[in-house]
Amino acid sequence: MNKYFFNDLDVMVGRSLRHILRSLDTILTVTVMPIAYMLLFVYVFGGAIQSGTDNYVDYLLPGILLIAIASGISYTAYRLFIDVQQGIFERFHSMPIAPSAALWGHVLTSLVSNAISVIVIILVALIMGFRSSAGVLSWLAVAGILALFTLALTWIAAIAGLSAKSVDGVSAFSYPLIFLPLISSAFVPTRSMPPVVRAFAENQPVTSIVDTIRSLLARQPVGTDIWIALAWCVGIMVVAYIFAMQAYKKRV
């Protein structure tokens, strides 16, 4: 590894965290929007939803976290796209910096910023009555799964950011990712859905991830869900990483 890798990575992460802090739009979308969803579902729709738990916030929180991450990584794609378009990547690559520090800077920023918005949303959920009896280990497991999910989506975002031809293309890719939690067990139990929708909902990645986090937070046994969730996250991450690296090599 290049001896300057961590120095260069530090510069890159500092730079893109500044981008986030100076963009009201980003902060609003990645934290305020998911919180608004949470308020809407708990205080407007929640009364009519039979979730099978005493407290609907407890049921809802995992899905809200995934939506927040999905909208968070769309900004990673956007920032990557801008760097490629404006020739900033080119400038970096004509300098004696550690190879791929520029790309890893965006990936690490994505992890850090999503972690911050997840923490903020959990704090708001606590105010709204969310309670968990989970122990330290369970919380660590939740953090680990969320980090893997973030990484998997970040590499998908990297493919989009590195290969998109226009800004519209960059933002379009994240809509399905934000939409996916809606057709899962994130907001309502899947048993209330018609068979075809139910079959889709139960076999797409979000449901297993949501169910795993929910069980961990409620101190319920996670069963095989956790392995399915991990397989999805790692599988998507590896495949997306390979394609993202290909797109990256094409760009530099």
């Binding site: 120095n7 510069v11 500044r18 100076r22 404006q86 020739g87 004509s94 300098m95 004696p96």
Partner: protein, 255 residues
Amino acid sequence: MQNNSIHVKELRKSYQQLHILKGVDFEVEKGSIFALLGSNGAGKTTIIKILTTLLKQDGGRATVNGFDVAAEPDQVRQSIGLTGQFAAVDEVLTGRENLLMIARLRHLKNPRQVADDLVNRLGLAEAADRRVSTYSGGMRRRLDIAMSLVGKPQLIFLDEPTNGLDPEARLEVWKMVKELAHQGTTVFLTTQYLEEAEQLAHRIAILHEGRIIAKGTLDELKKLFPPAKSEYIEKQPSLEEIFLAIVGKKDVKQQ
């Protein structure tokens, strides 16, 4: 002792069926300003990308500051600065932060000091702590060039440095380039404006259909043409001269 900053021999590059460079040869003397002239799509940017290690050539050899661009890219990167065709500045950061970022990425001892010095030297002090998104085209370009000067590389590449700038900003950039050369930095620039090459360059090469079809000093190039006939023509001011005269006057009045 090596007297050439750049040495290019038989350089070839194709994109699929399109042969962009078909054997390009030239040298750039240390400390000089060298202009590569050519129309759009002639391959000027391709040459810059190969020389700055962003692109690999298909054939031929190129050395920059004595290092082979294909075999020793790290040493090449260490010794050059690049200002690409579009101002590659970070719009969200301030001018000073941009310079500081580059200084840190070049692993300099005292990055903050380097950034402050450049800010003062280039007359950006007033705007240094404003976000670059508020800069005019000329200021943005000046910052862009300043960013390629961080770490005092011996050679800088400027790809169409005045493209899209207004006449005043163009003069500012010209002044900056001349000062650089005065301090001993070698400047390699591409341009499609003949006047720019005439104003700045010690040596000029013309790239056409993948080859250098003419090179030399301005005087040498002039000799390639039939000797000048003298005719008496009333000299009309160019629109640029008129524009600059009026704008210049206005500035004086405001002060």
